[in-house]
């Protein structure tokens, strides 16, 4: 089949060996690539019950069929592992020049098992795998590490690396590429750290063939033109920072650890204001015409620093921590990128600690002298450093994430630990976005805005966003299946409004690349199959219906401010929506995947796979 190499490169760091495992055409068609293929490979290579930070949790880098086609926004890869935050499926996408380099390795995925004997740089040059000592890189931040590896191995290599947070197994450590781009969510940087890999350097020369290169080229020209149209202008000019002002007005901007849904200083950190006050520089991921990335530079008298800024980092390190000084947010985001920390989990965990301090549960004595107060920028910056280095006491506590930290502190603090399944909440207030509330509760990777775009319904006339009803299950399923295909092809989410017919165009693109006749319904079914395999992985790892829920705060407290003041989302409302979601998916009332559905999705073979595929 065109467009794929038809194999995975499997590396066992413990044995110091590597091999290729075949990926047959049917499997590749069934799971497409990226997050979908990665979910399949995780099920296949992760032994049941594997310790997420133990050697046999596979760290899997996955490419996609669209990489290298010249289609805009497609230089993306997925990293998949069992998450040290959730104990369920963990995956993260990133865009960078690493993606085309990975694809030229001669494999569709790199599966890394075992643990290196000492801190190492894993070098993959086409199929040749070597390991270099990384002792001299320890403690270096992600920017320094990438630069050092390139100095040592030459400018042609592309590098993925971890910072000090990944070295210390902070449960929400990220993997960085291309000068600070992060594969941020679910703690995959800690998985890389558990393998004693400080960096991975890749270089490849093997290209796949394309079934219809000329047709792809002409489609690429057309799509590029559409990517520069009205539908993406907000992203090109303001980036996702534009969300701050509108979410605030809609009572959907999580503030002070979700105690409020509006922020009195929202104007100061809104995209519209920052466009004027900070003149952000545009930045693009590899091979992207949209360029939604905005690089902000501090504008105060302090040391100058810059950071890529997008809505999630801005909300988590700004309003959620009560911080309204954009320069502090820039410094905090830069620190997270350098130290290798997911900005969302970092902000949410610190906001939880700030509320603990507000309620007298964390005193300056507990916090090594630090006064954690909402709005205190110095405390925010100090806490980030402390977490990344697992500083004694507070740093070590917060490095575990909100679920584990709140379990240790107790005293009711679990109620305001804002996570689902252990993954910290993104910047969408569930009580005023009740379709999204369902999406967050049922997402297989925990509180996630990317694997479910259920908020799209809330920001439209399709639903009343302030009330629950039993139509939401079908909507959440639709948006999850759509996202699964988007994340497997892989297209950037911000391109989606530029398609005139997403399913038709994606099917045609897949056919032009692979030569396999593909109908829109084939991809719809692939989306459904991918979400079923993710769910089957979680069930295998101990998932029960009780895991599909929201933090107590979201279910017990009404909103206190903004246009949605007084609005509630009750446990009954959420249960009703979850029931409608399981029904739409054809799952049992307890959310299990029945035999019939497994057969319908063609997943029996996966469940019956020999355990030898898992190496241990």
């Amino acid at each position: 089949m065109h467009g794929y190499h038809g194999r995975a490169l499997v590396i066992d760091l413990t044995a110091g060996a590597s091999r290729y495992d075949a990926l047959d055409d049917a499997t590749l068609r069934a799971f497409v690539g990226g997050g979908g293929l990665g979910s399949y490979l995780l099920y296949r290579y992760c032994p049941q019950g594997a310790d997420p930070l133990g050697p046999w949790n596979p760290l899997i880098f996955v490419t996609s069929p669209l990489i290298g086609t010249g289609l805009t926004t497609t230089s993306k890869f997925a990293v998949v592992a069992k998450s040290p935050l959730t104990g369920f499926i963990g995956d993260s996408l990133s865009s960078s020049y690493l993606a085309p380099e990975l694809k030229k390795l001669g494999a569709d995925a790199v599966v890394i098992l075992g643990q290196a004997a000492r801190w190492s740089v894993l070098c993959i040059d086409d199929g040749a795998v070597t390991v270099r000592d990384a002792a001299h890189l320890l403690g270096q931040d992600t920017f320094e590490t990438e630069a050092a590896v390139k100095r040592e191995l030459g400018p042609k290599v592309r590098v993925a690396c971890i910072g000090p947070a990944g070295e210390r197994l902070v449960r929400y450590a990220s993997i960085a590429t291309d000068g600070g781009r992060q594969a941020g969510r679910t703690g995959i940087g800690a998985v890389m750290g558990s393998k004693r890999l400080k960096a991975i350097a890749v270089h490849g020369t093997q290209r796949v063939t394309l079934a219809a290169p000329e047709a792809i080229e002409s489609y690429a020209v057309d799509l590029r033109a559409r990517s520069l149209g009205q539908a993406t202008e907000k992203y090109r000019v303001l980036g996702t920072m534009a969300n701050v002002a509108s979410f605030n007005r809609l009572g959907a901007l999580p503030t002070r650890n979700f105690q409020q849904a509006t922020f009195e200083q929202a104007a100061a950190v809104s995209g519209e204001t920052l466009h004027r006050t900070h003149a952000p520089k545009d930045a693009h991921c590899a091979n992207c015409t949209i360029g939604c990335e905005k690089v902000l530079t501090t504008s105060d008298g302090g040391a100058k620093t810059s950071a890529r800024m997008e809505y999630e980092s801005l909300f988590a390190l700004g309003p959620l921590c009560g911080v309204g000084d954009p320069n502090v947010v820039v410094r905090a985001a830069r620190a997270c990128d350098a130290l290798g920390l997911d900005t969302i989990s970092t902000g949410v965990t610190i906001a939880w600690a700030m509320e603990c301090a507000q309620r007298g549960l964390l005193t300056p004595q507990d916090a090594g002298g630090m006064r954690l107060r909402f709005g205190d920028g110095d405390a925010l910056l100090a806490a980030i450093e402390l977490i990344a280095r697992r500083g004694e006491g507070l740093g070590d506590l917060l490095a575990e994430g909100t679920r584990q930290a709140s379990a240790r502190v107790g005293e009711g603090s679990e109620a305001w630990a804002m996570h689902v399944k252990g993954l910290e909440m993104p910047g969408y207030e569930p009580r005023s976005l009740q379709t999204m509330a369902l999406g967050l509760a049922v997402s297989t990777r925990g509180a996630c805005h990317n694997r479910s775009s259920a908020y799209e319904a809330d920001f439209s006339a399709e639903v009343d966003r302030l009330r629950a009803d039993d139509r939401r299950g079908a909507i959440a399923m639709r948006t999850e299946d759509f996202s699964a295909v988007l994340d497997s092809m892989i297209w950037c989410k911000f391109l989606r409004k530029a398609f005139t017919d997403f399913w038709g165009e994606s099917a045609r693109a897949y056919e032009m690349v692979t030569g396999v006749p593909t109908a829109p319904d084939d991809l719809r079914r692939a989306g459904e199959r991918i979400n079923n395999v993710k769910k089957l992985f979680n069930i295998r790892e101990g998932w029960t219906r009780a895991d599909d829920t929201l933090p107590a705060r979201a279910l017990e407290e009404p909103l206190r401010d903004g246009v949605a003041a007084g609005v509630r989302l009750t446990r009954g409302d959420l249960d009703m929506m979850i029931g409608s979601y399981y029904h739409a998916r054809g799952w049992t009332e307890e959310g299990m995947v029945p035999e019939g559905k497994i057969g319908e999705m063609g997943l029996e073979g996966l469940l019956a796979q020999p355990s030898s595929d898992r190496m241990r």
Binding site: R249, L250, G251, E272
Partner: protein, 99 residues
């Protein structure tokens, strides 16, 4: 709707690209009683012509792709023939496609 209809006020709040294009956060408009959202949009285009081709179609009667309307911060609307209520605050937002 006739030109003799008594006027009422509504306010358009601008977000995202619309705010940038207009250089204003909000615009208070006088529209005749019985006016529709499409009429309010046309009045907004007259008050802020820089929105034409940016958020509002050149004919002044429709939103451009990537923009949506919301009433009083609560409900989103896609039917521009809906009547405007006196004192209503109409939000003109850039479409949300995540972040």
């Amino acid at each position: 709707m006739t030109s003799a209809a008594p006027a009422m006020q509504c306010t358009m709040e601008l977000f995202g690209m619309a705010r940038l294009a207009a250089g204003r956060v909000a615009v208070t408009l006088a529209v005749p009683r019985g006016a529709t959202l499409a009429d309010a949009l046309a009045a907004l285009a007259l008050a802020c012509p820089t929105l034409l081709g940016k958020a509002i179609a050149e004919n002044g009667a429709a939103l451009l792709p990537g923009h949506v309307l919301n009433l009083d911060g609560r409900s989103f609307v896609d039917d521009l023939s809906q009547p405007v209520r006196p004192g209503e605050r109409i939000l003109l937002l850039s479409d949300q496609a995540g972040g």
